[in-house]
Symmetry: D2
Subunit: 346 residues, 4 copies
C-alpha cells in the first residue's frame, strides 16, 4: 500500500486527487496539508467526501510528509520548488501538479512565472510527466513534473506529426478552449458564474505560461526549435479542454494510421475513427485524451493543412488523473490501476 501525502489539498486538483485515491486499490492517503484548513476534517471542507475519509487537514509544518512514499503538490505555483528538496532528501518521491519543474530552463521559467526559482538544480533531474513520451524515465524518477492541461492536449495531438517529421514545425497553431476549473479555485471577476456563463472569450493571446511548456515539448519531439501560435480561450463549462490544432503538411502520409500506430497500446489515448468530432464530455471525469485527425477536402487550396482535434478533462488527463498515472508508473503498478472509470455522460 503506497502511503500518499498531498500538499495543498483544497484546490480543484487536490480534490480530484482525493476522488481518485478513494478508488485506488494500492494507495492510501496518509497526510494532507492546508495552511488555511488545518485541523478541519476533509469531509467538513468537502461535503462530497463526507463519510469517505476519516483524515483531517494538517498544518504544512506539522504533517509527517517525510513518512510518505510519494507526495503530490496540488499547490499554487511557487510552493513545490521550496519544499521538494527536503522531501527528496528524506527518500520521498514527489509528483508536482503545479508548474514549478515543468521547464528545463530556469531563466525561461523565471521570465514567465515572475519569481526566482528556488531549486534550479532540480530542474535537470525533474522528469516531465507526459507518460506517453517519458514512461521509461518516469519509472525511476524521484521528481515528476506533471504536465499542464493545455500542454497535455496539444502535445498529444501534435507529437506524432513532429516525431514523423511530416509537417512544418515552424508554423504550428494551437487554438485551445478550456472549461473554467482550469483556472483553479482562485477568484477573479471573469471567473464568476454571472460573468463567465453564456460567454466565450480568448485570453492571454500575447503570451500564456503554457506556451513555453508546449514549445519545449514540441521541440524535443521535433529535434529542433518550433514555431507555435497558441491561443487559449475560456468556454463556459466546468471541466473539459478542446485543442484544435493546425499544421501545414510537408510530407504526405496516412495520417490516421500514423496516429493509430503512435498510440497503439496506450491505455489513455484514444485515436478516434477518421472524421470524428470528439466532444469534451466524452472525457468528463475520465483519464483519457481523445484525438481525431481531419484532412481538408482534396483539391482545395488548403489541402495542405491538417486539422487535429484533441480533447481531455483538464482535471484528469490534464492534471490529477495523469498524476495518478505517473504514480502508478513510478511504483511499478499497472498503469491503469484506479483510473478506469468511464466518462460521466450525460
Amino acid at each position: 500500500m503506497i502511503k500518499v501525502g498531498i500538499v495543498g489539498g483544497t484546490g480543484y486538483t487536490g480534490l480530484e486527487l482525493l476522488r481518485l485515491l478513494l478508488q485506488h486499490p494500492e494507495a492510501e492517503l496518509s497526510a494532507i496539508t492546508s495552511r488555511q484548513e488545518a485541523g478541519r476534517a476533509l469531509s467538513a471542507v468537502f461535503p462530497s467526501l463526507r463519510g469517505r475519509f476519516a483524515l483531517a487537514f494538517s498544518h504544512p509544518e506539522k504533517a509527517a510528509l517525510d513518512q510518505c512514499d510519494v507526495v503530490f503538490f496540488a499547490t499554487p505555483n511557487g510552493v513545490a520548488m521550496g519544499e521538494a528538496r527536503a522531501l527528496l532528501a528524506s527518500g520521498v518521491r514527489v509528483i508536482d501538479i503545479s508548474a514549478d519543474f515543468r521547464l528545463q530552463d530556469a531563466a525561461e521559467w523565471e521570465r514567465w512565472y515572475k519569481v526566482k526559482h528556488a531549486a534550479p538544480e532540480l530542474l535537470a533531474e525533474a522528469v516531465y510527466g507526459l507518460c506517453e513520451v517519458n514512461r521509461e524515465q518516469i519509472r525511476t524518477a524521484r521528481l515528476v513534473a506533471n504536465p499542464g492541461c493545455y500542454p497535455t492536449a496539444v502535445l498529444l495531438g501534435l507529437l506524432p506529426l513532429l516525431e514523423a517529421g511530416v509537417v512544418d514545425a515552424g508554423h504550428l497553431i494551437a487554438d485551445a478552449k478550456s472549461g473554467l476549473s482550469g483556472a483553479g479555485r482562485k477568484m477573479e471577476p471573469h471567473l464568476m458564474h454571472a460573468e463567465a456563463a453564456d460567454n466565450f472569450m480568448a485570453y492571454g493571446v500575447p503570451g500564456h505560461r503554457h506556451w513555453p511548456e508546449i514549445r519545449q515539448g514540441l521541440a524535443r519531439a521535433a529535434g529542433r526549435d518550433v514555431g507555435l501560435v497558441f491561443t487559449p480561450h475560456l468556454t463556459p463549462m466546468i471541466r473539459g479542454l478542446h485543442a484544435t490544432l493546425y499544421a501545414r503538411i510537408t510530407r504526405q502520409t496516412d495520417f490516421q494510421e500514423l496516429f493509430e500506430r503512435r498510440y497503439a497500446g496506450e491505455p489513455f489515448v484514444e485515436v478516434m475513427p477518421g472524421g470524428s468530432h470528439p466532444d469534451t464530455r466524452s472525457a468528463r471525469a475520465a483519464n483519457v485524451c481523445r484525438i481525431a485527425v481531419h484532412r481538408p477536402p482534396e483539391g482545395a487550396s488548403t489541402a495542405d493543412t491538417l486539422v487535429v482535434l484533441s480533447v481531455l478533462d483538464n482535471l484528469m488527463k490534464g492534471a490529477s488523473g495523469q498524476a495518478v498515472q505517473n504514480m502508478n508508473i513510478m511504483f511499478g503498478l499497472a498503469e491503469t490501476l484506479g483510473l478506469q472509470q468511464a466518462a460521466v455522460v450525460p
Copy 2:
C-alpha cells in the same frame, strides 16, 4: 458473475447503467437491446465507452435475454409491462427503471399514463425498489419497480417524519427542482440548450406522474392517505435534483436526531449536519441522497414549519445507481458493491 441484460440501452439511464457496470466486480453485461441501434457497437453509439465494451446492440427480438440472471428495463414507459411476464417465466429477475410497475393500483396507473396496463397481475408482486424502505422484500423479489427520481428524493426526505407521526400528513409540500437529464433523451423545444439554459421554470403544476407515486409511498409510511402539493421545476443543469420539503409540525421532537437515527447504517443516505445546505453537485455521479433538516427560528409565527432539503443525482440514486443497489440486494451481494464512487466535484 451476474449476467446482466439491458433492454433499451440508448437512453440516459441505460448509459448510466453501462458506466456503473464497467466498475462492478460481480456483474457483466451479456446483452443489450435497441431496436434502432441493433447491430452497432456500443462504442460507436456512445463514444465515451470506446474501448470498454466489445458488445454490440442486439435487436430486441433476437437478444438472448432469457439467459440473463437479471434484466434491467431502461426503456420509455410502456415497454417493460409487455415483456416482464415472459422473462419472469424464464426465471430471469427484472428491475424496471421505467414507471410501469411503480403504482400498485392499475386504474390509477392508467389514469396517469394514459394507456391500458399490459400486466396488471404483476403489480401486486412488484416490489417498489426504495431500498431504505423495502430492503427485505427486495432480497427475494422477482420484479423490482425502481423508483422515480423525484419520488426517491421526496420520500427519503419525508419518510422519517411520517413514520414518526410528527407532522401534519394532510398538508405536505414538495417543491422540487430537476436537471434536464431527468426528462430523458427525448427531444422537446423546452429541453433544447438554447431554450433551457439560463432559464428556470415550473412545469406540470396541475399534475405530474410522480405525484401519485410519491403519495403512494408517503401513504404507506403514514398509514393513512396524505395530502401533497408537488411542484416540479426545470433548472438549467444536466444532472441533479433538489427537493425542498415543507411540513407542519404536530409534535415536537429532535428532528435532526430523528433523521440520523432513521438512516443510521444506510450506506447511501447522508444526513448532513444541522443547518447545512447540500448542493446537488455533492451528489453528482454518486449514489447518494443528502438530507438536511432546518427548523425555522423560534418565536417566529412559522416556527411550526419544518424545511427539509433533499438532494441526489437523478441518474444515480434517482435511477440507475439505485437500480444497481437493488441488484446487489437481490443477489445477496454487498449493497455498496460498485457504487462507492465519490461525487464528481467540481
Copy 3:
C-alpha cells in the same frame, strides 16, 4: 432632461442602470462615481458600453452629485445611508437600490444588517418603491427605497391574496430561486462558475435579509403580522428569479380574476393565462413580473392550497428597471418611458 447621478456604478445594478439610461429619452447621465475606477472612462471599465458614453468615473468626493436632479445608489448596503441626507438637503432626490432604507424599523434593520443605521430619521420618510403599491407616495417622495429582487417577486405574487383576505396569512411559503447576478459582483467561492454551474442549492434557510423586508410588505397588505417561510436558492443562470408561492385558501373566490383585476392597468405586471408556467427568460432583460395562479385539482386533500408562480429579471423589475420606473413616477413622466424593451429570448 433629467440629470442623473449614479453612486457606485461598477456593480451589476449600476451597469444595468447605464444600459437603461442609454435608451431613456428624458434622462441623461451627469455623473457616476467609483472610488476604485475614478478617472477611468466608462467604456474602459465596461467594454459593452464602448462608444456609448463619453463620461469617466469620478471620485465620490469630487463628483458634483448635488447638481443632479436624482441620484441612484447602486452601492453595497451601508453607503446610501451615509450620503442621502446631504443630497436631500441639496434638493436632490434619491433612489436607493441598496437595502439601506427598505425597513421602517431601525432596530430590525440593524439586527439583519449588523451595523448601526446612519440615518434612522430618514426611514420614516423613505417610500418603499414597489410601484404597484406605493405609486402615489412615490410621486412626491424625496427618498425612494427600491425593493429587493426577492421581495418584488414574492410581494407581487402574494399581495392580491392578502389584500383580499382570502388566504391564511399566518402560514405563507415562498420558495424562491435566483440567478447568480442576484448576489452582486462580489467574489465568493460558491459564486464561481466552476462551483455554481451545473449545481443547485438552497442558502440562508435559517435567515435571509430579504425575509424581514418581505414580511413588512406582506404585513402592510394584510393589515396584520404574517407568518412566512422563505427559502432562497441559487440556480445556475445569470439573471432571473422564480418565486413559487404557497398559500392556504381561507375563502373561495375566482383567483385568476382576482389577480387580473388587481393588476389591470399595471404596465409591468403580467397576469398569465390560468395554468401557465412562465419561465424566467420571458422576463430576461425586460422590466416585467409575470404571474401565474394555479389551483390544485379539486377533490384532492390539498385542494385548499394555492400555488402562485412569479418570475422576473432580478436586475430589471428586481432592481434597476424598477428604479427607472420609480424615477419616471417621481418626475411625472410616462411610467413606461425607456422601459418597453421586450425580453431577450432565446
Copy 4:
C-alpha cells in the same frame, strides 16, 4: 412607416426580428406567417411578447404579404427561393435571412444545399447584405441576401487584411465558436441541454455550408481565389459567436491602424484597443461586431502570424440585427435606427 412582413416567424431569427421591430420607430409589423401556428396570437406562441403585438400568425397562403413594403424571410433554407420572385414582381422588397441567395453560383449553392435552386436567375441580382461592404448596392437592392453568422464575423475580421493585400490569402484559418441558437430552433440530440451543456465540440470540419459563403466574400475582397480552413465549434451558450482568425503576414504595416481606418465611421463595427480580448457577452443582444487585432511577440518564429478576434451575437449582427440594418439602408433611414441597444451584461 414601413410595412413589414415576416415569413416563418417562429424560429429564433423571426423572434429576434420581432423584438427589434418593437423598438423600431419607423417600421411596423403588418403580417407574419407560419404554417404551423396560423391563427394563433403572437403572444400565445411567444409569451415574452405578451401584450406587445395584437397580431396573429397568418397562413402563408393567406397573408397579404404583397401589400408590405418589405418582407423578411426567417425561414429554413429553401423557402425564400420559391417565394421571392412573386413578391419582387409585386414591388415588395425582400430581405432573406436564410441562405437561399447568398452564393452567386447556383451550382455551388446546389452542391452545398443538396437541392435544385428554384430561382437561379435572381442570384445575380441579389445583393449580399454585408453592410460594411455593399452599402451602396443595398440602398437600391430589391433583394438582399442577409449574411450568415459565421461569415459576418469572419469576413469583418479578415477583410481589411485582404483588401490591403498584406497577408497570404492562400492560407487563412478561421477557428470559430458559436452558441447553440446558431443552429436554429431545430431539434437534434446534440443540441439538447443535457447533451450540449458543459460540453464543447467541433463539428462540420470536413465541410460546412458557411465555408463557400466565406470564401466567396474573401475572394471578392482579395480579388483572387483564397485558401481557407474553417473549423466551426459548438460552445455551451445561447447566443454569441467568437471567430479566432489566423493569417500569415506578407507585408508589414500598422495593423491596428489598418483596422481602425477601415471601420472608421462604421456604426456597428468596434475595433477594440490593441491587446483586447473581447468577450461574446459584450455583444449580447446588441448589433455590433467587436474586433481585436493581436500581433504575436516579436522575435518569435511565429512573428509572422496575425491573430484577429472577432465577436458578435449570432442572432443580431449575425442575423436579424443586420437584417434590420439592411432595411434601414434600403429605405433611406438612419442606419442605426432601432438598433442602438447596449449589450445585455451581465
